[in-house]
Amino acid sequence: MQTPFSLDPKNIDYKSMPDERGHFGPYGGRFVSETLIAALDELQAAYLSLKDTTAFQEEFDRDLAHYVGRPSPIYHAERWSKQIGGAQIFLKREDLNHTGAHKVNNTIGQALLAKHMGKPRVIAETGAGQHGVASATVAARFGMECQVFMGAEDVKRQSLNVYRMKLLGAEVIPVTSGSRTLKDAMNEALRDWVTNVDNTFYIIGTVAGPAPYPQLVRDFQSVIGREARRQMVTQTDRLPDALVACVGGGSNAIGLFHPFLEDETVAMYGVEAGGFGVETGKHAAPLNDGKPGILHGNRTYLMEDENGQIIDTHSISAGLDYPGVGPEHSWLKDMGRVNYVAVTDDEAMDAFRALTQIEGIMPALETSHALAYAAKLARDMDKDKTILVNLSGRGDKDILTVADIDGITL
């Protein structure tokens, strides 16, 4: 239950998780109303029957290659590494994917599932709009009707992505309940799904939610780590010494980490949004400053008050602004396999500017959190050590936010 159990991390079969009921140790599971169970059962049965078939794998790989543009390259950020003066930093360039982030790996996979399940309509929740855009994109590609739920506050903040989704033929539905942000969009999407389950597939954008979502999203995103493992060995003749990725719900991080979990020499760092600083309480770092609870169908670390109400989070980056986290991350934290750390808005902004100016690569603000921590880490490591950062998305979508911080109106 709530007590983290202690096992020797060396004896854990990481690849065996989750169990057949979707649990990662005490986390995960399926905490939903009975009204949703049949839909989850149908999805799980479809996924388990398709996932290991050659036909499904080939279809997925073909779309990843020709539509998304995989494999994404690994780039040695030499100038930036030199400036930092420590370990060599490599970037897994998920920002070069079609639609500009890792999100599309998952939406392609889920849209293929929807196609095989005969669902003509897809719905999605979105915070910053990246997952919404990736969902609208694949819906256009597969000729599916698409509705995207987005907190009314986020609709205002992310007007560019809202219009992008509309151009792609999706309908964006502003959610005015609760705190009007990502968590409320997810509530609303679940409500729509339970009402329209006969013709609707719910594309969840991260490794959270009820089983089987944390597993299937991880499986689709693990292409990142599988490629990266091969590429690092080819380019540097060995595995990296450390992996770094940002964690909101945690899909890009789990996608990178999972294929390396059994490589004991590879240290892993998941970087949460520290907002104004973890000590201020104004952040989105449940693994650093939350505790286990139940939200959105799974048991995981959460930001909550003493009454068990979910509290508002703060991050400069809308994509990390979520009070929960994928249950596998909660488990990896308790196991001590991954170190979960936080960096502040300001530190992320510094990293955003550094990478943009020194390497000519403009990262997403979410990704900038990972970069900020990688820079700290590199400083204390020898020059012959390597750090691989998941460059999960590009920063074009954040230009208005950055301009606003600089006091510039575009």
């Binding site: 939903v32 009975e34 009204t35 949703l36 049949a38 009454n307 068990g308 109400q309 979910i310």
Partner: protein
């Protein structure tokens, strides 16, 4: 025998359908709830389902979500809800009270602490919406120890095998959700409900009460034909919201300003009470027509 079992047995013995109103504790403000629950009993309620406010009530439709939001605007938490039940119990030792809510407010207290406090306050049963039988084992074991009934939902999409498993874990009564979707949605297909309720009755001797979509005397009468009890939620929560002019969400509202500030709460409470008395009286009449 638990207060719930005794109540439902008495209903059955007298050939009556149980009337089970649902309101959210602390909606639209804290000290209206206890008097309102007494009114519900006066109007014909046999069992009270008291909603525990939660920030993310994902199985609720817009009407009950608003009820949760109105209560949370006054920071009503589990401690307050239990205090309300205790206060109600001082006047009414007989009417069973079921807490209906989400898992996290119980998780944060711990099962044991919650169960102890709930029993002490006079709570009779718990329906945790997002705690399906696969996950409910630990919680159920603790609640059983404290003689709290554990009520479970069965949905139109629940398979026969699951129905059996749920019935095996449930005590008190089975809550059959008559519609696909969230609370407050659509129209009920009475024949379909009858078929399903009979199916459930084949798996259990527990009473089967039906909720979702019971709006008035006629729908209560239709459901009363096959169910042991009718649950009325959304229409009641909406009635309370309308009575205080808060039945829609004001998207431009300043969250820091209490929408009830400066209003005569005693006068509003009278309007609320008259409205819920009328709604539940009509349902009670319909269910036993």
């Amino acid at each position: 025998m638990s207060r719930i079992a005794a109540c439902l047995e008495a209903c059955k013995a007298s050939g009556r359908k149980a009337v089970i109103p649902y309101i959210v504790a602390g909606d639209p403000w804290s000290d209206i709830t206890v008097p309102a629950v007494h009114i519900l009993v006066e109007a014909g309620a046999d069992i009270i389902e008291l909603g525990v406010p939660f920030s993310d009530p994902m199985a609720e439709g817009p009407v009950i979500q608003l009820g949760h939001e109105r209560a949370l605007a006054h920071d009503v938490g589990m401690g307050n809800v239990l205090a309300m039940v205790a206060e109600f119990r001082q006047q009414d030792p007989n009417t069973p009270v079921v807490l209906m809510g989400y898992a996290n407010p119980v998780e944060v207290m711990g099962y044991e602490t919650f169960a102890k406090a709930a029993t002490a306050a006079g709570v009779d049963g718990v329906l945790t919406v997002d705690m399906p039988p696969e996950e409910a084992g630990d919680m159920n074991a603790v609640f059983r120890e404290y003689q709290l009934d554990t009520i479970f939902l069965i949905a139109p999409t629940t398979t026969e095998a699951r129905t059996k498993a749920i019935c095996a874990m449930a005590t008190g009564y089975i809550y059959y959700v008559s519609l696909k979707g969230v609370t407050g949605a659509g129209h009920i297909d009475t024949d379909e409900v009858k078929r399903k309720v009979n199916g459930i009755k084949a798996s259990t001797s527990l009473p089967v009460c039906v909720g979702f979509g019971i709006k008035d005397g006629d729908s209560a009468a239709a459901i009363g034909q096959c169910a042991d009890g009718v649950v009325v939620g959304s229409v009641l929560v909406n009635g309370m919201g309308e009575s205080v002019g808060m039945a829609t969400r004001d998207d431009n509202a300043d969250a820091s300003v209490d929408p009830l500030a400066g209003k005569d709460r005693a006068a509003l409470a009278e309007v609320v009470n008259a409205r819920i008395l009328s709604i539940v009286s009509e349902i009670a009449e319909g269910a036993n027509r």
